[in-house]
């Protein structure tokens, strides 16, 4: 950059010095005074977050190229980069740390948003891949994400509402919704919930989601984390509120129902009967992975006569030599498969394939040969593991894995009737749950007016 350094006889004003002092001794702070014959402009910014080329292009160059009779202040204030000037030193400083350039011309001050974000590349959707539909997910920059929304949803009623969280990182959070579709009381509730959060540090959408949940001990997620723009828009068009956190490639969707977690965006891109089949498979998978271990215990240890006699005999024959009751066998194998899943998730890709092979194939076969478990148990456990992955959203996936153990305990204690009652109990729990005041699980009949209001008791 070619410009003169500040000379001693043009002292910056007191306000400017005070702000600069507050930011010191950080190394990336830049205090600049642009000076020509009759004009002085003071600039204060952090060079690590400001686009230097842009600054040069739109502030520094015009300053020296403009003739004396033109008003430089007018020019600066007419720039489209201006952000709203907050009141109070602290707020101004926060704006500067976000990448705004503080400009002072005589007694007039303004902030120019010339921020540069390194991590604004749009990432590929990894957690929720689809064959058709958009291949790219969100980025880690909130501006890019908002841009992605706007690119796909051209409507003046798309409202982006910034919220400043009272945590130490002063992260940008934005509520995004369709002003025409969203329910006002819902929006108010979510906004209030975010504003009353008392947390030290919000790092990403994930922990914000946990704090929003407002309950320490909860199993099922009441808001949904997604990385897919099409899922976000799908939900926004349904009147839901999207929460974006700067620096996180996931958006929070609230409120959610149980069925939102069972929806894959792929469903929108296929023909009706294909989607019906896939949905049927998915729900069958859900029931399988919750109930199958419990059914195995109930049927082998309590009421073998439920199965037709040939099958009952096959199961019993397969269990010959297994030295402990069925529930220990099931717990043992389930914990084994959970360990395997966890391990393969945390390991780098190249090693996880080996781990799965060793764990799944070799250990499974060996366990059967050593008569520590029955053949049928290995089939049951593999089936359970596979059907767990059919659930499209990973948070629901985790919750279901926990449920499976709870149901297993209930069945171990009370038999096959216990399994049925346990399932009903689970159903009661889910129906009794709410997500930001909206019922979590119920039958949603389309085109039917709300018949039941929430009761107050």
């Amino acid at each position: 950059m070619s410009m003169d350094e500040t000379t001693s006889h043009t002292e910056p004003p007191a306000y400017f010095t005070r702000l600069a002092k507050r930011l010191e001794p950080t190394s990336d702070i830049v205090k600049k005074t642009l000076k020509s014959k009759d004009r002085i402009v003071h600039l204060l910014y952090l060079k690590s977050v400001v686009d230097i080329m842009q600054l040069q292009e739109i502030v520094v160059k015009p300053f020296y190229e403009m003739s004396a009779d033109q008003n430089f202040a007018e020019y600066i204030f007419s720039l489209p980069y201006e952000t709203k000037m907050p009141t109070g030193d602290e707020e101004v400083l926060i704006e500067i740390t976000k990448g705004n350039v503080f400009v002072m011309i005589d007694k007039q001050i303004t902030l120019l948003e010339l921020k540069v974000v390194a991590a604004n590349a749009v990432q590929e959707a990894i957690m929720e891949p689809t064959i058709h539909g958009p291949q790219l997910g969100l980025s880690e920059s909130i501006e890019t994400n908002i841009n992605l929304m706007r690119q796909r949803y051209h409507k003046p009623s798309l409202i982006i509402e910034p919220i400043q969280l009272e945590d130490i990182s002063n992260r940008d959070i934005a509520l995004i919704y369709d002003g025409e579709k969203v329910k006002p009381h819902l929006l108010k509730k979510i906004r209030a919930r975010i504003l009353t959060l008392d947390v030290e540090l919000v790092q990403a959408s994930g922990d914000l989601q946990y704090y929003l949940n407002n309950k320490k001990y909860s199993l099922f997620p009441t808001s949904l984390l997604t990385e897919r723009p099409d899922r976000i828009l799908h939900n926004m068009a349904g009147g839901k509120v999207i929460i974006l956190v700067d620096g996180s490639p996931h958006a929070i969707i609230a409120p959610t129902t149980f069925f939102d977690f069972m929806l894959s965006m792929e469903d929108a891109y296929y023909s009706f009967w294909v989607v019906t089949l896939i949905r049927f498979l998915r729900y069958a998978g859900l029931f399988t992975c919750i109930m199958l271990p419990a059914i195995y215990v109930g049927v082998t240890s309590y009421t073998p006569e439920v199965l037709r006699s040939e099958l009952a005999l096959t199961v019993a024959a397969s269990r010959i030599g297994v030295p402990y009751p069925s529930f220990i066998e099931v717990f043992f194998m389930l914990i084994f498969i959970e360990l395997l899943t966890e391990a393969s998730m945390r390991l780098p890709n190249s090693i996880s394939a080996t781990a799965t092979t060793v764990g799944g194939l070799i250990l499974g076969t060996a366990a059967v040969e050593a008569a520590l478990t029955s053949n049928i148990m290995v089939i049951v456990v593999s089936l359970v593991a596979i059907s767990t992955f059919v659930i499209p959203i990973s948070e629901m996936n985790y919750a279901v894995r926990v449920c499976r153990f709870l149901l297993l305990v209930y069945t171990t204690l009370f038999g096959i009737a216990g399994m049925m009652l346990g399932m009903l109990g689970l159903l009661l729990y889910l129906v009794n749950k709410d997500s930001f005041g909206e019922p979590y699980l119920r039958m949603f009949w389309k085109n039917r007016r709300e018949e039941l209001e929430a009761d107050d008791s």
Partner: protein, 365 residues
Amino acid sequence: MSRFVYFLLISNMIANLIASSPRILFGKSEEGAIVTMIIALFFGVFINWVLITFFKAFPGKSLPHILSLYLSKWIAIPTLFILGIVWYVSGMQTLITYIDILLRFITPEMSVYLIIAMFIPVITFGVIMQSRNILFTLELVFVLSFPVAAYYVVKLYFSEQVSWNHVAIAMTFIDNPPDYTVFSTVTYLFVGAFDIIIFNSLLKKKMTFGIKQALIIFILGAFAIFTTYFIPIGVLGFDQVESILYPWILTSDSIRMKFGVIERVIFIFLLLLLAIAFLNITIHWHVACKLFQSAFGIEQLKIKLREKISLGIVVVVFWSIAIYTTLKVTEYDLFLYSKYYFNSIPIILIGLMVLMLVVNRRAKV
């Protein structure tokens, strides 16, 4: 009429399959069962008409609320108390019957304490839940179990085991004079909708009861009565059916699925009925709980903690009585007491309807 009213009605009809009602009907099969069932069918539609017409005038208000508005405390509180007992006993009767069935057919080696322990957490959770969510659960369970139930009914009607000759024999006893016990037992099939004395506070939409609704209830009732009475006679034979303790379970057990993974239909039947019976108990106890709460004026207590304590007391009392009765009652007692209970139902219903008439007149003035 809200769809939830039908759900309540149907759940009561189904839950009765396992209770003592079929046995009472078969006991009277040569003493006027059929003609009484026809009379009771019309009476059942009639009481539902009275009920809906009454509540039509008060959308979004439960019975305790209405009574407190239009009647003196001295009438309202005993009424609510008696209704609470009726509803509580109704749930308890289903509970005891089902525990008995579990002990006999599914897990005979299990101790009765363990079986009671199995019900306690789930039913308690259901009873203290919000009324709205109970209705949602009811709907969900209906949707989930509908395919299985439909399969079961089709399997029943087209089963080779059903001897329609025996059904025809049973029908020849149409000329016997009517019998009060049969009348009250069949009437009980129709009282499911009476749960709206509490749930009406959620049904904000104005209900209608025209020809269409009456016809639906009539057909549902006719189908339920026909199935409850004639199918076991067809399967088990007209002469033997009255000597069987649980005719419906034996009926289900005589049907098999030739190619199914589960061969005996009885297990599908029992687990399906467990779901319905469980919901029936939960709903009845929830209604009873709310009735007792308003009878004791707990609604007036604004403090949340006190409300919770009162709920806790009600639940503990409910379970103490239920556990004591379950342990004490023998199968014969259960049958006998159920009969007494059924016999009292028409009287209570008529009393309730007279009360509704009075309230309706006062409300109009």
